[in-house]
Symmetry: C2
Subunit: 338 residues, 2 copies
């Protein structure tokens, strides 16, 4: 198995990418071919400076870099020798089995659509983010790749998310729900009402009905479906509220000597709480619906985030995620015989 | 000033409504006429049982009740002698200056549109909820009354929210922002892009541009504008995430004797944090755009929530909220002279 890694993507590249890739190689890299794409001289210098052994890796030199200010479409079209575009091109050409990048979400999304292409029945891939829930993690899609979605797209998200939950998250019978402002199937906009009916009739999933935003974080549902505008709100607002509350909690403990001592007593438990809300732990966001596995690691990924994204890519390939997904999508496309 | 109060609305009616109204009468009711609408016998029995003095109140007897299972339109049309519909009718007829209810949001919204009617230029009122922010409270609208909104509606929400922030929340120069999945004015759906342009050109407000969901809870913005579908997600998800995190925090403190002792040390600070997230504290949600002040108290309001909603109603009347809002909306309607 060959995993392609964008060594220049993300806020902490290339150092954290190299560190994460080295950890992946050590922990679960046996029998895997890990390919680093990037500025060869920069990678070698960074590795030497930080005592990272490059022996487990193949380096594919790239002369360009896609940065956060690049227009996604222009970057995908006009930076063929960037680590991001070259990686996607190699994936397309069969010179790799999966691609991992912490680079620009927009460029990765557009590049995946244009270069790797999508499964039959999928117009544009959805960004699916694993999120922390009280009971267990859940998958949220779309998280912002497609601001507007037709009902059929939301239905396909249900199918794709369900397959991912089974094949990569290890959920035997994943439950799928649609974000909506009420439990009744008459709730929401016309698009959500129609999507509800399609999901209800979808033979490939276990549809649990609408999920009200108040209950999303409970983690009772495995796959939470919504359009990219709403998904972005759910993803980022959760981060924002958690950050604000944990920040205020810090203030409570910093008040005086007594509260500081109290902090020591509950430090372990608070650490667990913080870890639960840590995007590094839950892993990267797959671009579901792409013809081959593409994993978007968080832009601010440290080594652990990169390592976990590489692990996700490995699981996708091992379990033939894209093949299984295509079969499920085909079932969706074929009208039932009367 | 005469405030009409739906004594039968909400999960804890009539007891908590009577308690809240009694507190309002004692704290800031001087010179005010507080009118309780409901089943007279039930109100009197409840008051007697709980030692609540009904002397400060006028009771308007009602023979019907709108409950949470009633269809909003049917309830508004066919239950004229319910406390909710009778209150709105009295408001419409000038037999009161404002109406407060913790009853069905749907029925109150539809009833307000049909009976009290809206200001000129407003098709349907928006539900505006004061929300807790790290820096200070902010107003979120629409919170679910209008799942789909045209750009002009979102623009009117900006105007109405800004007037409310000035007149009732005491913000001298309120900042208005539009929820969106990026700071750039090219972000979001076509409706949000057009709304952004309208808000930018709106002479009645200080428009701060788009606000990303991650920053909503910071409280740097006074008025946060979005459609009712997204607003419901923001409102309810914030509640859900806060509830989940505070619940997990409780688990951390309950772990053993040491952590329980630590809890005692930070109890005060944690109480403040909890109070901040308490919807009772921040008050009810005005139906902005109604021709006269209508305040929706949270369905689960206890006495404090009802008292604070009555206080809001008083401030709305004192500061001629609806008159000021109509003037601002008129300015929006008049095309600029070339």
């Amino acid at each position: 198995m060959k995993i392609l890694i964008d060594a220049m993507g993300g806020d902490n590249a290339p150092l954290c990418v190299l560190q994460g890739a080295a950890q992946a190689a050590a922990e679960f890299g046996q029998g895997m071919d890990l390919v680093l794409l990037g500025d060869e001289a920069a990678l070698k210098a960074c590795a030497a400076q930080n005592h990272i052994d490059l022996a487990p890796f193949t380096i594919v030199p790239c002369s360009e870099v896609v940065d956060m200010h690049d227009d996604p479409v222009k970057a995908a079209r006009h930076k063929p020798d960037s680590s991001l575009v070259k990686g996607l091109t190699m994936l397309k050409n069969g010179e790799g089995d999966a691609f991992v990048s912490a680079g620009s979400t927009g460029a990765l999304h557009v590049g995946t659509s244009l270069i790797v292409r999508t499964l039959k029945g999928v117009k544009r891939p959805a960004l699916a983010t694993p999120m922390p829930g009280a009971k267990q993690n859940f998958l949220l899609l779309d998280c912002g790749a497609n601001a507007e979605c037709r009902p059929e797209m939301l239905n396909a998200f249900g199918t794709m998310g369900s397959v991912y939950a089974q094949k990569v998250m290890g959920r035997a019978q994943p439950q799928v729900a649609l974000v909506n402002n009420g439990a009744e199937d008459t709730k929401g906009t016309p698009i959500y009402r129609e999507a509800h009916q399609l999901l209800k009739a979808n033979p490939c999933i276990r549809f649990a009905g609408n999920i009200e935003p108040r209950y999303i974080m409970d983690g009772d549902i495995d796959v939470v479906v919504c359009d990219g505008f709403v998904g972005n709100v759910v993803l980022k607002l959760t981060e924002g509220v958690a950050k604000t509350l944990l920040g205020m909690l810090k203030g409570v403990f910093l008040k005086n000597l007594v509260t500081k001592l109290c902090y020591l007593g509950v430090k372990g438990g608070l650490g667990e709480l913080k870890r639960m809300m840590d995007s590094e732990e839950v892993g990267g966001a797959p671009l579901l619906g792409a013809a081959k596995p593409v994993i978007k690691a968080h832009g601010s990924s440290k080594a652990k985030g990169i390592k976990n994204a590489i692990r996700q890519a490995k699981t996708c390939v091992q379990n033939d995620l894209c093949g299984t997904m295509q079969t499920a999508l085909n079932a969706l496309q074929t009208p039932a015989q009367g």
